[in-house]
């Protein structure tokens, strides 16, 4: 058993275990931190698969960005103390059976298919190659992604900055307040 296999099994256990903790934990803060370990383990998987640049991007964007964003979302949408943050789980048994059937089906399809193997060599993946690909074959998606990110930033800022009156449970909501007329 070489180092590659050892690293694969160690991090596979880490990834799947932390993902299971994330799904089944009652406390949403625990879920967020378990998701962090899952994403970090996946970055190690990418590095094992010769995708070093994807691994670094995963660490920067997911662990450094999206996870912090999720924690901010948790903080801004809870009242009181974090140790009381409980979330509801419904239909756990049917959902588990359904997800298990989907997973087993996927694994069965993966294992019964005869994939054409054409393994990548270690030296084939270079940053230069990725950059050239980005500016030749993937030029249009690259530009469109830039526009998409700009739109997402503007949209997120506009939506997060706008405030509307909260909906009252006892009385009917105001039909058209001064703020909603402006929108």
């Amino acid at each position: 058993m070489d180092l590659f296999a050892l690293a694969f099994y160690a991090f596979a256990i880490l990834i799947v275990g932390c993902a299971a903790i994330m799904v089944f934990s009652k406390n949403i803060i625990h879920s967020a931190f378990a998701l962090m370990f899952t994403l970090g383990g996946l970055a190690v998987f990418y590095a094992l698969l010769y995708a070093g640049f994807v691994a670094v991007t995963q660490l920067l964007v997911y662990v450094g960005g999206i996870l912090v964003l999720i924690l901010f979302g948790v903080m801004l949408t809870t009242q009181g103390y974090f140790d009381k943050v409980q979330t509801r789980t419904v239909n756990l048994l049917p959902a588990t059976i359904f997800a298990a059937i989907i997973g087993i089906l996927l694994i069965f399809v993966y294992l019964s298919t005869d994939w054409t193997l054409n393994p990548l060599e270690d030296g084939e993946v270079t940053l230069t190659g990725l950059g050239e690909l980005l500016l030749t074959d993937f030029m249009l998606p690259f530009q469109v992604t830039g526009v998409l990110l700009l739109l997402a930033i503007i949209g997120a800022v506009l939506m997060a900055a706008r405030t509307r009156p909260p909906l009252q449970a006892s009385q009917p909501a105001p039909k058209a307040g001064p703020e909603s007329q402006k929108e």
Partner: protein, 109 residues
Amino acid sequence: MVLPEWLAEPGLNHFLVVGAILFSLGLLAVISRRNIIMVLMGIELILNSANLNFVAFSRYGSLSLDGHMIALFVIIIAAAEAAVALAIVLNIYNRFGSVDVEQISELKD
């Protein structure tokens, strides 16, 4: 201790199986949890399992470097999605005072 060959040398199938397990766990989070942020985390898990498949196919299959590029684009789009989705979640919380998806049942008052 002598391990069988399929266990001793992880190949394409091993990574695909991990991806499938991650996908079903993400699906489970999406359909069984009632907190919007938990649903978002499940979606992130599903996107990551797709990414793992892309990178595994680019390593072992004939996808070569294209798989890495697609994985990068998926990461970028997931970042944009998370930003917009959390802005929507904040609006929903201000409006309804709750982030439970079953209480958010009306589109317009």
